[in-house]
């Protein structure tokens, strides 16, 4: 590995990512402050958060250089968490709406 050049290039990448993170944060806040319809705002804000998370994961946590197994280690719990949350929706959210034939 050609250390010095790599390190300098890496450092500027890290600064760029940081700039992006700050920009996305501000973008989210702008959406929050402006009179955007609530549902749209929520979707946008969480999409921005997801982008931020992916930026951090891929660059700061070096996921883009990692073995497939490490990817799986992140993806599996994330999917399990989503799956669990979705499975629980009928149960927790609609608990008061159980009609059952009137």
């Amino acid at each position: 590995m050609n250390e010095t050049i790599d390190v300098r290039r890496e450092s500027s990448l890290y600064m760029l990512i940081w700039a992006w993170l700050v920009f996305l944060l501000i973008a989210g806040l702008v959406i929050f402050v402006l009179p955007v319809p609530r549902t749209a705002a929520v979707i946008l804000i969480f999409s921005l958060a997801a982008i931020k998370a992916v930026l951090v994961l891929r660059n700061y946590m070096h996921l883009k250089h990692e073995h497939l197994l490490i990817y799986l280690l992140v993806l599996t719990p994330a999917l399990l968490f989503l799956g669990m949350a979705i499975t629980l929706i009928p149960d927790i959210v609609y608990r008061h709406h159980l009609g059952l034939g009137g």
């Binding site: 608990r95 008061h96 159980l98 059952l100 034939g101 009137g102």
Partner: protein, 232 residues
């Protein structure tokens, strides 16, 4: 085979539950006997005898693997059969609640069952409701709709004779129903640990003929409602 052990079924949907239990018993019994039989047979027939060596075989050629995979596929098929049979019985008891004129509110609390009948106005949640403790009187051959509520912790209403079991969760009104086919007294047990009195949280369902029930209702519910109304 199990009928000697399971209490007699006296509800309309209980027969379906029982038939699923029996279906599983036959399928599972077959595989159980097969597996144990082979296990014992192979163990005995393969016990060590001096000159003979074990047969070297890794079970990785397809011709060998089918001995495992085919039975496993059969298991999968039977599994899906059990699920489908179970689904119908489940729907009958838990998802489809037939209409009825009798709706009773069940309130479980440490360590009692309370049954609230609608008073003369025929509606629950009005001041003329009448609450009785631990004994639920119902007419035979009629759909009874229950709304299960808990005042404190999770209880579970378990009536073995009806094949009816439903947890009672605080913060929810959980619907249930049954239709008894035979008059008699059937016990209600709590089957979810609910505190030190859990073991004695006993109730009864008294299934009566239409006449007896009408009389009981008149004496206990309608009359009681009237007296409490006149007392005010």
């Amino acid at each position: 085979m199990l009928s000697g052990w399971m209490p007699p079924n006296v509800s309309t949907f209980g027969g379906q539950i029982d038939s699923v239990v029996y279906l599983i018993l036959y399928i599972v019994g077959f595989f159980f006997l097969l597996a144990e039989g082979l296990l014992i047979y192979f163990s005995i027939s393969s016990r060590r005898r001096a000159p003979r060596q074990a047969h070297y075989n890794r079970g990785e050629r397809p011709r060998e693997a089918v001995w495992i995979l085919v039975p496993a596929l059969v298991v999968l098929g039977l599994d899906l059969g059990i699920d489908s049979a179970g689904h119908h019985a489940w729907e009958l008891e838990k998802s489809i609640r037939p209409p009825s004129t009798i709706e009773i509110k069940v309130t479980a609390k440490q360590f009692n069952w309370e049954f609230t009948y609608a008073g003369p106005d025929g509606k629950l949640g009005t001041p003329d409701d009448v609450t009785v403790e631990n004994d639920l009187h119902v007419p035979v051959g009629q759909v009874i709709r229950l709304s299960l509520n808990s005042e404190d912790v999770i209880h579970s209403m378990w009536v073995p004779n009806f094949r009816l079991k439903q947890d009672v969760v605080p913060g929810r009104a959980i619907p249930a129903w049954f239709e008894a086919t035979k008059p008699g007294t059937y016990e209600i047990a709590c089957s979810e640990l609910c505190g030190f009195g859990h073991y004695s949280m006993r109730g009864s369902i008294i299934v009566q003929t239409a006449d007896q029930h009408a009389k009981w209702m008149n004496d206990n519910v309608l009359h009681a409602a009237n007296t409490s109304a006149s007392a005010k």
